[in-house]
């Protein structure tokens, strides 16, 4: 459960978003704007963390009263090179924070840090990632916790969907793209694996709440409802007229060890009792409407 340093929420003086050009970063910037929070969005153009002088570039942008959201990442990290590059980015940021410590640091991490067998996952589940991507986030959390001595919080989203998602990973975004092109939606096997999916807007809303409360600790960003890929495909397919075909493909390998993943979101209820996630069906319908208007 999070600890709120501000019992009553209050806008921070300014929030610097490092990684503001990405899918999640831009959603957080937009939500901060809606909340009337002064924001400094930094993309690679303003602060290149992988440059030789990355730390200086970040430091040049920081003021002592800033709250910082660190969401910059090469994600998903699939190779050792990407893993190491992500760590160097965190190293540059911590060097800048050592010179100009933020008033509050929010790191956008991932639920991939948890062990596969953790079920239902809570914020107290063992951190034992089985992927390079998960280990990258776990390592970066540790780097920030160790090197930054001010108020620190990690937000750990699960699979994120939204209209602006540039990735085409297995799930709602890929299904929608397939259907939009008139192609069948393809699922592996029977698509029976159940996963939690969260709207990027909910990640951003939680991030802003955390910033306004000065929260510390860690919070999973998950809806608490796991839905099978089969059911997600059917939901997406039904948004088209005529409905898209849902086609089963042979699995490229053995069925994943992690068949289902459930989360216990009691910590979120306790941290933000009046916050509730958008149900998946509702969120997918909203995304469909947004993209249909484009």
């Amino acid at each position: 459960m999070l600890t709120h340093l501000n019992a009553a929420p209050a806008n921070p003086k300014r929030v610097v978003v490092i990684g503001a050009g990405g899918f999640v970063g831009s959603a957080i910037v937009a939500e901060l704007g809606r909340a009337g929070v002064a924001t400094l969005p930094l993309t690679r153009k303003e602060a290149d963390l992988l440059a030789a002088n990355g730390a200086e570039q970040v430091k040049a942008q920081l003021s002592p009263d800033d709250s910082v959201v660190f969401v910059s990442a090469i994600a998903p990290a699939k190779s050792v090179a990407q893993f190491m590059a992500n760590l160097r980015m965190a190293e540059a940021a911590t060097a800048a924070f050592a010179e100009t410590p933020p008033a509050h640091l929010l790191y956008i991490s991932s639920d991939a840090i948890y062990a596969d067998e953790a079920n239902p996952v809570t914020e107290r589940s063992p951190v034992a990632p089985s992927t390079i991507h998960g280990m990258m986030h776990a390592s970066r959390e540790l780097i920030f916790r160790t090197e930054f001595h001010g108020p620190f919080v990690a937000l750990r989203p699960t699979l994120i969907y939204g209209a602006g998602d540039p990735h085409s990973g297995y799930g709602p975004n890929r299904f929608r793209r397939q259907a939009a092109k008139g192609e069948p939606i393809t699922i592996f096997g029977e698509g029976e694996e159940k996963r939690d999916h969260v709207a990027v807007e909910d990640v951003a809303r939680l991030a802003v709440r955390i910033l306004r409360h000065g929260s510390t600790g860690a919070l999973n960003t998950v809806t608490g409802v796991a839905t099978s890929f089969h059911d997600i495909a059917k939901l997406v397919a039904a948004q088209y007229d005529p409905p898209a075909e849902v086609k089963s493909l042979p699995r490229p390998g053995p069925r994943p060890h992690l068949l289902h993943r459930f989360f216990d979101i009691t910590d979120c209820y306790k941290s933000f009792p009046d916050f509730h996630f958008e149900p998946l069906a509702q969120g997918l319908a909203r995304v469909h409407r947004e993209l249909s208007r484009v």
Partner: protein
């Protein structure tokens, strides 16, 4: 030996109940506590604890019972039990300061031939480390809140920690314990101290198995209430086993023993993975009510009003330590609540918008959901039709099945309980 005079130091829930029961067995008994105010109240017959039958028992045997705040009175006793509360922190770790302080006072004030018995729950190694002059013993306490008189008058057995189990018990202790007519099991100090913890670990194991499978029942269409009787008829499990689903562990004593095992396992390098799983499951189930409220109501009803029935951690007690009700209330700050408990005042509920009620139906008036968080007997008499009529909404959370599920549903209530979908 003639009937020994018995003393109890520390007029706590344990000390007071045990002292009154000793008097009821025909022993002249002293109830000592350094707190003069408390002793004055006891002298006036005002008992600070709620236990079925305790007031009547004291009245009946008042002539053999003396209360005093004067340590000098302890010199009259042949056998003195030391029974202060041992406070625990929020992870169940014991603070032994109070038991040490009172024990030293008792050892200093009693006669050199008097036997002193530690009755408070202490970790293994405690008694031997304090045994300086050969008259200190340890006895396992078996208090159950709400059933203290029954348990103390009809104990299943006495477990006594002694320095050498091949030696006979001191006559005063032997005479006193034999008056209860149950088996007496002397064993080395460490065994006795660990036996108490072991009993509680076995109880927690039953509770945790029940809660784990009850949660599964809630998802797959099974009903734990149908299954539990079948388990109880299995002799390896037993009629008295703890197979009623609940909201995790509460009250502090079981949690204390789990914390002690974990601490000792860390110190001595033994495996305590199972015990840690008990703790995790308890925390998980304790939040059943808040999860259910969010999933069924709060996500769609930001203006909801919640009625809470029961504040005590369980029925027939005034104790609120580890109370699931108070834990729930703590998480309901954005919503107004109405509360009623037959014993605990509404002021025990730390909430910014709490209204105390004088009855069940008053607490239910105009609320969108009722959570019956303590299974007080008087709640069982509530008519579901009246409850439904008093409420604005339909949702009833009844983890302990105080109401009959079929009757509640027939009254139009949306009924949620443990162990069934």
């Amino acid at each position: 030996m003639t009937r020994p005079r018995i003393g109890y130091a520390g007029m706590t829930h344990l000390g007071l109940c045990s002292a009154i029961v000793a008097a009821s067995k025909g022993f002249v008994t002293l109830g000592f506590d350094p707190d003069c105010g408390l002793v004055r109240k006891l002298e006036a017959g005002e008992l600070p604890v709620v236990e079925p039958g305790l007031d009547d028992l004291l009245q009946e045997h008042r002539s053999r019972m003396t209360f005093s705040a004067s340590p000098a009175q302890l010199r009259e006793c042949d056998l003195v039990y030391v029974a202060p509360d041992v406070p625990t922190d929020n992870i169940g770790a014991s603070d032994l300061t109070s038991v040490d302080r009172l024990l030293q006072l008792v050892l200093a004030q009693t006669r050199p031939d008097a036997i002193v018995v530690v009755l408070s729950q202490v970790p293994p190694g405690f008694t031997r480390a304090r045994r300086q002059d050969g008259r200190l013993y340890y006895q396992v306490e078996t208090l159950i809140f709400g059933r203290a008189v029954e348990r103390a008058t009809q104990p299943e057995r006495f477990i006594v920690g002694v320095p050498d189990s091949s030696q006979p018990l001191p006559p005063a202790l032997k005479t006193f314990l034999e008056a209860f007519g149950c088996p007496i099991l002397p064993m080395r100090f460490e065994s006795a101290e660990l036996t108490k913890i072991s009993i509680n670990c076995c109880l927690v194991a039953s509770v945790t198995v029940t809660n784990t499978l009850a949660e599964l029942c809630e998802r797959i269409g099974a009903d734990w209430s149908e299954m539990a009787p079948a388990l109880k008829l299995d002799r390896r499990i037993g009629t008295y086993s703890y197979l009623t689903p609940g909201l995790g562990l509460a009250g502090g004593n079981l949690e204390r023993d789990l914390a002690t095992v974990i601490r000792f396992s860390e110190e001595f390098g033994t495996d305590a993975g199972l015990i840690k799983a008990f703790v995790a499951n308890s925390l998980h189930r304790k939040d059943w009510a808040i999860r259910t409220l969010h999933e069924t109501l709060l996500w769609k009803a930001p203006q909801a009003i919640i009625g809470i029935l029961g504040l005590a951690y369980k029925e027939n007690t005034h104790s609120i330590k580890g109370s699931p009700s108070l834990a729930l209330i703590q998480q309901l700050a954005p919503w107004p609540i109405r509360v009623y408990d037959p014993v605990v005042p509404a002021s025990a509920a730390a909430h910014p918008a709490v209204t105390g009620a004088k009855s069940v139906l008053e607490a239910a008036r105009g609320v969108d959901a009722v959570a019956i968080m303590t299974p007080w007997p008087e709640f069982r008499g509530v008519l579901c039709t009246e409850l439904a009529a008093a409420m604005r909404g339909r949702l009833v959370l009844d983890p302990f099945r105080v109401l009959d599920p079929a009757t509640a549903r027939a009254a139009g209530l949306i009924y949620r309980t443990l162990g069934v979908e």
